[in-house]
């Protein structure tokens, strides 16, 4: 994974709440067997409406998306994070995210930043004309107008994102602990191994 310390640039001022994973990437796009190329299907139903933010030249290539409550609700499809990354988005700012989406975002080096609604309202305003600066080290979102919003992030996630740590590699370092657990459980609960014929 690529290390990430800051994201600077324009932001799509989407603002809508309950943006579900079918909106982010419709089911028809899930038939791929690779991770790239999904940007073309991203936000398809929104992009069918003329004047949508994604096709507004003012925001072309914006690395940030601003959305409403409960972003990424719906299915567990990681394609949602892949599609957004393929579209060039590196960070989403919203008042809340679905649990599964924030996990998927994190695993793909996409920042999911939680800020209260009044901060979102202000950023939506700034995004119309100016760029936004997200700094992971100091955990702040700032604007050219002296706005400064602090956000929380799980310290472990922060560490992984800033250092581009591969989570599987990290867990495999605990192989011995996993083996110990397996031995203990198969003695205590031998019935846990299914009888798969």
């Amino acid at each position: 994974m690529k290390p990430i310390s800051s994201v600077i640039g324009r932001a799509y001022p989407l603002g809508l709440k309950n943006i579900d994973t079918d909106i982010i990437i419709p089911a028809a796009w899930l038939k791929t067997i690779s991770r790239s190329g999904l940007g073309k299907g991203a936000f398809q139903s929104l992009r069918e409406v003329s004047g949508n933010v994604f096709d507004d030249p003012a925001y072309a290539g914006a690395p940030i998306l601003i959305a409403g409550d409960n972003f990424g609700c719906g299915s567990s499809r990681e394609h949602a994070a892949w599609a957004m990354a393929d579209l060039g988005i590196s960070a989403v700012i919203a008042p809340s995210f679905s649990d599964i989406f924030s996990g998927n975002a994190f695993k793909n080096g996409l920042l999911a930043i939680v800020l209260p609604q009044d901060a979102i309202d202000r950023l939506m305003e700034v995004a119309q004309t100016d760029s936004i600066h997200i700094d992971l080290e100091t955990q702040t979102v700032t604007t050219p107008f002296q706005d400064r919003f602090a956000f929380e992030i799980d310290p472990f996630r922060k560490h992984c994102l800033m250092n581009g740590v591969d989570e599987i590699g990290l867990t495999l370092k605990s192989s011995d602990a996993i083996s110990t657990y397996e031995t203990k459980i198969s003695a205590q609960q031998p019935w846990l191994t299914p009888n798969i014929a």
Partner: protein, 476 residues
Amino acid sequence: MPTPQTLYEKIWNAHVVEQRDDGTCLIFIDRHLVHEVTSPQAFEGLRVAGRRVRRPDLTLAVPDHNLPTTARLDGNGQHVPIADPESAQQLEALERNAPEFGIAYINATDIKQGIVHVVGPEQGFSLPGTTIVCGDSHTACHGGLGALAFGIGTSEVEHVLATQTLQLTRSKSMEVRVEGELGPGVSAKDVVLHITGVLGASGGTGHVIEYTGAVIRALSIEGRLTISNMAIEHGARAGLVAPDDTTFAYLKGRPMAPKGAQWDAAVAYWRSLATDTAAVYDKVVTINAADIAPSVTWGTSPEDVLPITGIVPDPSTFADPSKQEAAKKSLAYMGLTPGTAMTDIEVQNVFIGSCTNSRIEDLRAAAAILKGRKKAANVKWAIVVPGSGLVKHQAEAEGLHRIFIDAGLEWREPGCSACLGMNPDKVPAGERCASTSNRNFVGRQGPGARTHLVSPAMAAAAAVTGKLTDVRELMN
């Protein structure tokens, strides 16, 4: 005395391999279900990194999402090729990946094949007190057996394949207590739709919900699976129902369930999992069964729930301005006008199926309404899709398929079907569907499709009258 614990805390604590200083835990995964859509990139990842599957014996693969539900073998017993090249490619990938990594694979023509969340409980692969994951958000379904089950993304699928663990932080606990007794025509599906209406689509975010109370205790396992299935629709990470005698009776003798002395040891352990009387949940919500009517959704979020006797709401009556905006959009998409009685809404399609409602009990409930009746002329497409080959077989043994076919409904092969627009079963744009599935999102059943979520009996009633209908009017 040990600290009193909830069911969730007991399962969680029993699966901690390691705890980091920040509270993140490495959690052991007892069961991993794999299907064709969310796994190809995970296997690709393993191959690229030269990693193997740590515990193939705890992993079970079955195709369901993409598979067409029309006949899979032709008159000569030959496999019918899958028309859509991309679906075929995903299915072939799973068929190749499972043996390459040593994973048991149930193929498309095996009688055991079905929707992952139907197959797991049915085979006794899913057990109380276990941790179960699958790359599908309705994995919470298995919580109906008292398993801590949740959906994961493809990176996590890869992580579980490689390590049999996940790095997780503990969720908060919530109790949703449903007290009283359900009225006639009110099913588990109506209970969970009602709960979703009460909590809202994000009401359970960050929580694992335990469903308790007299109503839940009285439900069959099929009904409990239906409820837990939709935990995610009110935002919860997982749903749970404490295992009890109903659970043990359901599991006993299932092919992959423990046998003999092992069974007895397992039951003793499962009994110890119930939430301790003195344990405290982070949040408690109480629901009175008397308030639950046969329910239906009107909008494009599962929280948009009404009793069937309700009327399409006026967005301007919502207090929250962003909710007003969302409701306006929903109504425009759904083609509905505020003030319309729900029972005046015509449907052109009926879908009975999905991991929420495709078990034998669901099919019996639908058949009870359809028996001796015919589908309305304006209903163009009505299909019944059993959750697995075994459900199909059982339904045929009971003659349910005859009732469906005589009523003018199609009787299909098992799979996810019209629950999501990935296989040929889709609802045409602009048309309505009374659907027993779990999501009414924009485009979920096909681009432009308008979904009304209902119970199997309500879907059957809609097929008969051609409109959303109060099933109680068709019961005698």
